[in-house]
Symmetry: C2
Subunit: 199 residues, 2 copies
């Protein structure tokens, strides 16, 4: 099972790395979580330079794909090479999620046609301009397609991915591990409450 | 104002990068947030290789230092070079915080003598063995020293740092930005509730 978190130049660290940390709580053979990028290294919106763990052109080989967010998403939406790769995503056989401005990329390749979505407050007008209804909530999914809005909603997107690929119990355990000491039950309950309607 | 997030090989992505993302919400001249590491690159507990933004041996020049967490902290506590650098930290003139297993490093250099601390459930026995009382709560601070336990308590450690260096309003704005859509007021209130007793 290979889950890719698509991470572009200008990426938001929370959106890519929170999902990566939570998804990596699963310890089972063949479980792989990768930051996938179009270039060998990418640099975040705050100057953090990191190395990709998978190539973006492997996109059809991933079992699940989470599209990260960042400050250059509108430029990426104009990048024909990247958008042609994203157009190969197939919700019939892949779990597909997007975080914040990542929702704009899914909208641009037509994956959200007729499906409402979540995004951050800054990206909201661009997603609406792409013809997608934007919801005032942190998480929404229909079938194999999910979107999340607000950096820390990446917790819910990761939990949904785990619940779908492994099970609710695995999602709850991963959430329990990362939650603050003394608030773990409350955090797990809130996260599961956000994804349960879509499982 | 230069804030360093100490990040070592085997680091937990959430613990270093959530703080970095939140602290970088401040846009004012001279405000700088850096991942500081002992080597040019460090690789996380899940294989994410990134480049440092500051050297660890600049430790006395930082206005604030947050010690990140990871799976190799007990080895780092045996590294005389690193521990000699950490021993130069001075809570009389620097804000000092630690996240999860980072608390063990502050304990080992004597900075927590007589002060209770927070840490994650895995590190708890090692911090107790170092003679420090471990609290069943996500965040605690006394004066210029703060500790947090559980990856997502990094939100509280970052908020405390902002509240101390800039002000409560700046902390609230940064939290509001990163919080999930539809849950922003609740997130801000919970985070501020955790740090208010120590401001």
């Amino acid at each position: 099972m290979h889950i890719a978190i698509l991470t572009f130049d200008g990426f938001n660290e929370l959106d890519s790395l929170i999902a990566l940390g939570i998804l990596n709580r699963i310890k089972q053979p063949g479980w792989r979580v990768s930051l996938a990028a179009p270039s060998e290294t990418v640099t975040s919106m705050n100057g953090v330079k990191l190395h990709r763990q998978a190539r973006l052109d492997e996109v059809e080989a991933f079992d699940a794909v989470l599209v990260g967010s960042g400050i250059k998403t509108r430029e990426i939406a104009q990048d024909a090479g990247v958008m042609q790769l994203l157009a190969r995503l197939d919700p019939a056989r892949q779990l597909i999620g997007a975080q914040c401005s990542g929702t704009l990329l899914l909208a641009k390749v037509g994956l959200l046609d007729g499906i409402p979505g979540c995004t951050d407050l800054t990206t909201k007008p661009w997603v609406q301009e792409a013809g997608i209804e934007v919801l005032e909530q942190p998480f929404f999914a229909r079938g194999n397609l999910a979107t999340a809005g607000g950096c820390l909603a990446s917790i819910y997107l990761a939990a949904w991915t785990l619940a779908r690929l492994v099970g609710r119990e695995a999602a709850a355990e991963a959430l329990h591990y990362v939650a603050p000491v003394g608030e773990k039950e409350e955090y797990v309950a809130r996260a599961l409450g956000n994804i349960e309607p879509y499982l």
